[in-house]
C-alpha cells in the first residue's frame, strides 16, 4: 500500500507490467460480489492498463481451479466451480424453492421478453396469480420494460442482470434451447388467441369484500 502507485504518479509513469495488471484485476474481482465489466475494471486500473488482456490471462490461470473466472451478463466475476457446489451448499441457506407458476412465468418472460402480463397468461392458459410477479420483482430477476405501444399500452416485463448472474448466463441469447424454440416458431407472437383457449380473468381471493366487480380491473397488464 505504501509503495502503491497513486493516480497522480501513474500519469507520469509507464503502466504496470501485464503481470502486475493481472494481479490488480484479480484483487478487484475477488473483492467484488457483483460482476464487473472490462470497462469498469479498466477505470480502476492505472492509466495505460489493458483490462481485456489481463482478464484473458486471469481466465487461463483460473481455468479448472476451485474458483473460476466466468462471464455473466457481459461482465466478469469469480465464482466457485460448479462441480464443487455439493461441498459448499451448507454454507448458504438453501434458497426457497420457486413454485411451478413462478418458474414458468419467469421462463416465459425470459424467452419472450419483453412480455406483457396477458402474453404470459396466454402461454400458460391461466391467469398470473397474485404475488407471482411480485415475487420475481422482489428477487430482482425481472423488471419493467417499455410499455407495449398497443391499445391500453400494457406494461412489459424483461429479465435483469441479476437473473443472468443467478443462472450463469452471459446474455439472454444464451438461454438454453432458445435457438431451437425460435426455429420451431414457438416464440413467435401469434395473433391474439381468438381461435384458442381463452384465459378467464380469475377473481382474486383477496378481494372478497367487494360487492361489484371493478370494471377497470381486468387485463390492464
Amino acid at each position: 500500500m505504501s509503495d502503491a502507485p497513486g493516480d497522480q504518479e501513474s500519469l507520469s509513469f509507464a503502466p504496470p507490467s501485464l503481470d502486475e495488471q493481472e494481479r490488480m484485476v484479480e484483487a478487484l474481482l475477488f473483492s467484488s460480489v457483483e460482476p464487473l465489466s472490462a470497462d469498469e475494471i479498466e477505470k480502476r486500473l492505472p492509466r495505460g492498463s489493458d483490462a481485456a488482456e489481463a482478464l484473458r490471462l486471469l481466465e487461463v490461470r483460473y481455468d479448472k481451479r476451485g474458483v473460476t473466472l466466468i462471464r455473466v451478463a457481459g461482465k466478469w466475476a469469480f465464482r466457485t466451480a460448479s462441480d464443487l457446489g455439493f461441498l459448499l451448499r451448507s454454507e448458504e441457506k438453501t434458497s426457497k424453492k420457486l413454485s411451478r407458476a413462478a418458474v414458468e412465468t419467469l421462463s416465459i418472460i425470459a424467452y419472450h421478453q419483453p412480455a406483457t402480463r396477458s402474453e404470459i397468461e396466454e402461454v400458460r392458459g391461466v391467469a398470473v396469480s397474485r404475488g407471482t410477479l411480485d415475487l420475481l420483482l422482489d428477487l430482482e430477476w425481472i423488471r419493467l420494460g417499455r410499455r407495449r405501444e398497443t391499445p391500453g399500452r400494457p406494461v412489459t416485463f424483461v429479465t435483469t442482470e441479476a437473473f443472468l448472474d443467478h443462472f450463469g448466463l452471459e446474455s439472454v441469447k444464451d438461454l438454453p434451447g432458445l435457438q431451437e424454440l425460435k426455429a420451431a416458431g414457438l416464440l413467435d407472437a401469434q395473433p391474439s388467441g381468438k381461435f384458442g383457449i381463452q384465459t378467464l380473468p380469475v377473481e382474486d381471493d383477496v378481494d372478497d369484500g367487494e360487492d361489484a366487480p371493478d370494471p377497470d380491473e381486468p387485463e390492464l397488464f
Partner: protein, 259 residues
Amino acid sequence: MLDGVNDSAAEADNDSLLIDIEGFEGPLDVLLTLARQQKVDLRHISILQLAEQYLAFIDSARELQLELAADYLVTAAWLAYLKSRLLLPPEESPEGEPDADEMAKRLAFQLQRLEAMRKAAARLMARDQLGRDVFVRGAPDPVAVDKQTEWRATLLDLLQAYARTKTRAAYTPLHIERPKIYAMEDALKRLTSTLGMAVEWTLLQEFLPEDWREERLMRSALASTFAATLELARDGIVSLQQEENFGPIYLRRAEKRPS
C-alpha cells in the same frame, strides 16, 4: 418438479386425472396432460380425439359432482363446438365462422408452446444456480476506508410505497367540514343584552359580534341576527324599519312594552 402430474398419472385412465384435478393449472394444463396420453409427438396430435378426451374428463368430473371452475366449463363448451365443426365436411361450414382447421391448429400450437416453455423452464432451473451450485466470495475484503452511504431502494419498494400512499388516501375517512354557524339562540341572547343601547334607529349590522364581521362568517351571523330581530319584533320588544326592498334594516328598542 414442473410436472404437477407425473408421467405415470398421465398414462393412467381418466379417473386418476380427476383425483389430481387440484394439481392442474387450468384447462390448458389438463389438455396438455391428456395430449400426452396419445403418445404421439404434439405436432401430430389429434385435436378431435383430444376434444373427446377432454369432454369425457369433464363429464366424469360432473358425475363425481366435483366443482369445476368456470374456465374448465368454458373450454368444454368451446371444444364441443370445435368437435362438431371438425366433424362437419368443410364445404358445409357456415359462412363467416372461423375455420375449424384453423382453430385446431391454434390449439395444437398452444399446447406445443406450453410444453416447450415447460421444458425450457426445467432446463433453466437445472442450470448451475448462484447460491445453490455456484457461490460468490463470502467475505469481500474489508480493506477500504472510504465511507460512502449507499441508499438502497428497489423498484418494488417504490411501487409498494406508491400503492400504499394511494391506498391510504383511499381509506381516509371523508370529513365534511361543517361551516361555522352563528346560532339564532346566540343572536337572541346578544340582542337582548345589547338592546338597551338601541334607543335610536341602529343598523342591524351594528349588532353583529366583532369576530363574525369577516366576509366568510357574516352571512351566517347576519341571517341569525335578522331572524332573532323578527322574533323580538313579534314579541314587541324591538321595532324594525326598512325603507325599500334589500335596503338596510334598522332597529331600535320598542317604546311600548307589552303588558
